[in-house]
Symmetry: C2
Subunit: 337 residues, 2 copies
Amino acid sequence: MTPLIDGLQYANWSEKIFRQMREGGVNAVHVTITYHENFRETVLNIERWNRWFERFPDLIFQGRTAADVTLARETGRTAIFFGSQNPSCIEDDIGLVEVLHTLGLRFMQLTYNNQSLLASGCYEADDAGLTRMGREVVAEMNRVGLVVDMSHSGERSTLEAIEHSTRPIAITHANPAGWHSALRNKSENVLRALAESGGMLGFSVYPHHLRGGSACTLRDFCEMIARTADLMGIDQVGIGTDLCQDQPDSVVEWMRVGRWTKTIDYGEGSKDAPGFPPMPDWFADNRNFGKIADGLQATGMADADVAAVMGGNWLRFFDKSFGANKGPEGRLSEAAD
Amino acid sequence: MTPLIDGLQYANWSEKIFRQMREGGVNAVHVTITYHENFRETVLNIERWNRWFERFPDLIFQGRTAADVTLARETGRTAIFFGSQNPSCIEDDIGLVEVLHTLGLRFMQLTYNNQSLLASGCYEADDAGLTRMGREVVAEMNRVGLVVDMSHSGERSTLEAIEHSTRPIAITHANPAGWHSALRNKSENVLRALAESGGMLGFSVYPHHLRGGSACTLRDFCEMIARTADLMGIDQVGIGTDLCQDQPDSVVEWMRVGRWTKTIDYGEGSKDAPGFPPMPDWFADNRNFGKIADGLQATGMADADVAAVMGGNWLRFFDKSFGANKGPEGRLSEAAD
């Protein structure tokens, strides 16, 4: 049986949500544990997760390898894989890549909208690609098994990350810009390069990434997935809902503003709509993944392909991505970890 | 009497050097207190300076305003003005600009060779100019009276900083690239824009910035100053020796490598010459400023102009730069602080 895996969520976590994950049959989730938090603050967030793992051992546990997804399915729990949406957690210190991987970090975005020390974000006017430090850090991430995520990065930085990385990268939560034009959605050029390199795209349900926003229909969303699978190959796509359930609007302000400006930046929102947008009615929480699977079937997609999109592809990607790069001369071994 | 001011030093400070400053009649020095150190580490460096101020009150004290230069001259001491060669000290936090200014920081480079969160360094292959955060931080530096220093920045970032800053900026330690081609030296385009905006250039004695390196003659150095004064105007230039006296080579490695790479980066050096280069024989320490003044006179420069270059220009720049931007509607008042 293929697992159900969500490639990105950032919820205001609670027992309620953990129970909804179980009701929805979600076997694994890549959760954002940090945005602009520095290393010490990120460790505080890990400590918070440790307390949740301690309190709810029957519902969740920390995932570190692909085998943990299988363990989660077998034991009726959800495996939680940590990720960062910005490299703030490594500060200016390449040595923190390995330290954070040891603490369980499995994905790290090189940028979150703005320029970082590593690459350029999709909101900068110009994108000069991977920086000197960016090239070093990508190599280190490749070595330890920390996945490069370019969901919020600029076009040139993304293409350079795909090219420079010796292991496949991910865009955990975004949609094709050709379907819905948005700074955060990706060009066909990027999607092709990503697929050719063995990388993964997770389709986002965040309304700003959807054609029609919150009013986007399940059918339109699923048709878009089917067409993108035609372009990229059915093996290179999954789900990355970007579900931000139960978050107060103060959180979206932190995500957008961090500590980099004294004024308000509305990001994908606007002065009139500064908060989190309402989710589409067909995806309110973790109990709704079945609707997406049904929607994919309704497009005419084969059962095996639906299963691949709903989790099988992420599982294979996890399996080859999270272990140390042990092969001879720095080449990726076939069975990492 | 015009004061003697050095626009940048980064020595391995000691009582010996403080006494040499007195012997050399140095009234004020902009000292680098931090490179890649984060905020907390920068505060540790300030604590170290506080102990030196406490131990050697007859030799040095912390300078905060231009008036402190006069006080230093009148009391036979050297005023120490703090600066940072990278924005690591503000981390990702615009609020630290004001905090560090309150602690006495008066200069901050937006970059040190590499890409920062604010702008691009002169060692990056591409320079996309000021970032979104860079524009915000420059405005905040303008507001509180923290001088933008672009000594180690890329060409486009430097031009954009000059244009975006509402107050004159500085290049505290560099020379014209037309005299000696080096990534760290500045194009005529940059020097003209800097001068037109009321900014300051400090001439560097660091051998990698000199024609002929350590063998550069005093005469060649002083002729270069005279020609650059012709280009920029005599009021826009000063000295910024970049004296790194008594530093072990481990320090130049920290300056170049910081925490951004696991390999060695030789910066302006090379595998065969990885350490600090030997200083020219005419400038070994703070007792040698008289030789530069004499050398400038020997080029035919008028006494008043020599005095301006040796400190008068920096004093005027300090006077207009270190105070809060108090004028109406955010415009710079005539007598800031």
